[in-house]
Symmetry: C2
Subunit: 346 residues, 2 copies
């Protein structure tokens, strides 16, 4: 298996992606293609005392870098020799099995959709992070790729999220919940009330395990494995979790820094504090899967360090070996509202 890694993407590039990818190569035995400016990649290695390219690690030179200020919708086209575009081209041409990037989410999404293409029949690719919850994490789909969604998108998100939870996270019969403001099928906006019976039908047919509406609070507490949402609300959910976590972490820090006694207390629970930090950290998960693309693409957090990149490569490896793309492709007919076109065209 060969994972393509964007060496130039993210706040800590090229150091974090280069070192993280090499660690993943050592630890998981996956082959790596580092895409980016060859000289900068080699410099990072040299500075870290890595004299030769490890076996199974190669460099694909790309002279440009997509910056955060570039237009996400067109960056991949305007910077044809960027690590992002070249990485996606390698993926498309089958020279690697998955692509990992900590670069601009918007540019990656647009590039993946237009270079690698969506799975035939899938209306929109979705961002599907694993968010920290009381049941050890849940797939949130979508978390911002599609602000406005017709019902069919959510139907497809439910299937894709369910496959991901089952095959990548290893949850048998994952519980799929529709993010909503009450338990009754009549709750929510017209989007939720329209989607609810569709998911119910899919559940009755035994295709997914739809457990009904899930309120945000119960979703955080761990009531479901998959949280189905339009991108706008999913983003509100995700960012509220992050914000609340940060807010409370800061308050906790203040509490422990008050005086000598509280500083001693911090020492006494230091192991627990590390655990605590780990729960809320996106570094552990690695990254967010772009589901619906015809080959696995993982968006690592922009602030990823080498450890987070290593975990994102691990996640990419799981996506490849799980066969999630084939799984979605094979079932796409039941994920569409209209009958598929007779001659197989879209």
């Amino acid at each position: 298996m060969k994972i393509i890694v964007d060496a130039m993407g993210g706040d800590n590039a090229p150091k974090a992606p280069v070192l993280g990818a090499i660690q993943a190569n050592q630890e998981y035995g996956v082959d790596i293609i580092l895409v980016g400016r060859g000289e900068e990649i080699l410099k990072v290695m040299e500075e870290s005392g890595i004299k030769d390219l490890p076996a199974g690690v190669e460099i694909a030179h790309a002279s440009e870098v997509v910056e955060m200020c570039d237009n996400p919708a067109t960056a991949f086209r305007e910077k044809k020799d960027s690590s992002l575009t070249q990485g996606l081209n390698l993926l498309k041409n089958g020279e690697g099995d998955a692509f990992v990037s900590a670069g601009s989410t918007g540019a990656l999404l647009a590039g993946a959709t237009l270079v690698v293409k969506r799975i035939k029949g899938i209306r929109r690719a979705a961002l599907a992070p694993v968010v920290p919850t009381g049941n050890g994490g849940a797939v949130l789909i979508d978390c911002g790729a599609n602000a406005e969604c017709p019902p069919e998108y959510l139907l497809q998100f439910a299937y894709m999220g369910s496959y991901y939870a089952e095959h990548v996270l290893g949850r048998p019969e994952p519980k799929v919940g529709l993010l909503n403001i009450g338990a009754e099928p009549s709750k929510g906006t017209s989007l939720q009330t329209t989607v609810y019976p569709m998911l119910e039908e899919a559940s009755k047919a035994g295709r997914i395990n739809f457990v009904g509406n899930v309120e945000a609070r119960e979703a955080v507490e761990g009531a479901v494995d998959v949280i189905v949402s339009d991108g706008y609300s999913g983003n509100i959910f995700l960012k509220t979790m992050e914000g609340t976590g940060l807010f409370l972490a800061r308050e906790m820090k203040r509490m422990f820094k008050k005086n000598l006694a509280t500083k001693l207390a911090a020492l006494l629970v230091s192991g627990g504090l590390k655990e605590f930090k780990k729960i809320m950290s996106s570094d552990e998960v690695g990254g967010t899967a772009l589901l619906g693309i015809s080959r696995p693409v993982i968006k690592a957090h922009g602030s990823s360090d080498a450890y987070a990149i290593k975990n994102a490569v691990r996640q990419a490896r799981q996506c490849v070996s799980s066969g999630i793309v084939d799984n979605i492709s094979a079932n796409v007919d039941v994920m569409r509202l209209e009958a598929p076109a007779v001659h197989g065209e879209e």
Copy 2:
């Protein structure tokens, strides 16, 4: 000033509302009407060693109780002699200045809208809790009364939230933000992109202080005083905060209960832990204002204890003395999209 308190509403009724209202009477010097089953109210007082009705506290007997299983839309009509309906009638007839209830949110909202009525020109009443944020709390409007909202509702929510933040919370020139998934005016669904220029115009005219879109994370961190949202997304925001707070509180508890050393640590930071708990507690705020109703109505949390009810009465008193209802009424013409009717009809 006289505050009407629903003695039968909430999980801890009649004890919590009765004792909380009496405490508020003692502490803030406000007169109280306790609405509910007279004998039960007197029994609570007797059990708590209160022999006579304190000066300024009276009882208005109502024989029925709205239960959580009653249909919220019709309960106030079906149970005409309920504490909720009778309390709203007293408010409507001017026998008290504000109404506080810890009963069913839906029944209170429907009852307040149809008995007390909305302020003329206000399209929908909104639930406006003060949520704990990095800047000492922000008004979230709406948090679930109106799942689906046309742009005009959000325009009105922005004004009402701004008046509330200024006059009840005492924030001069409160910063009003539109809850969104990015800073640019083009972000979000068609609802946000339509509302954005409306709020910008209101801001240019000096009527509100609109600071643009606010992402959920920044909203939690305290970037604004007023978070404007449709009820669906506002509810997702609120419940995600609650869920994350509970989730982390549980993890923290587990951390402190691990062994003797961590238990000692808990003792060392016990003061801080109490502070910490206070930040996240809805009891401190008291309740959620129903804005847009022609007289002040406060929904206290269903699980309110006497302390929370006392705070809700304090909040009701602030609403009355701030003149928020008059403030909204006086400015309603600029809060409407269409020109007001010539003869003053709706």
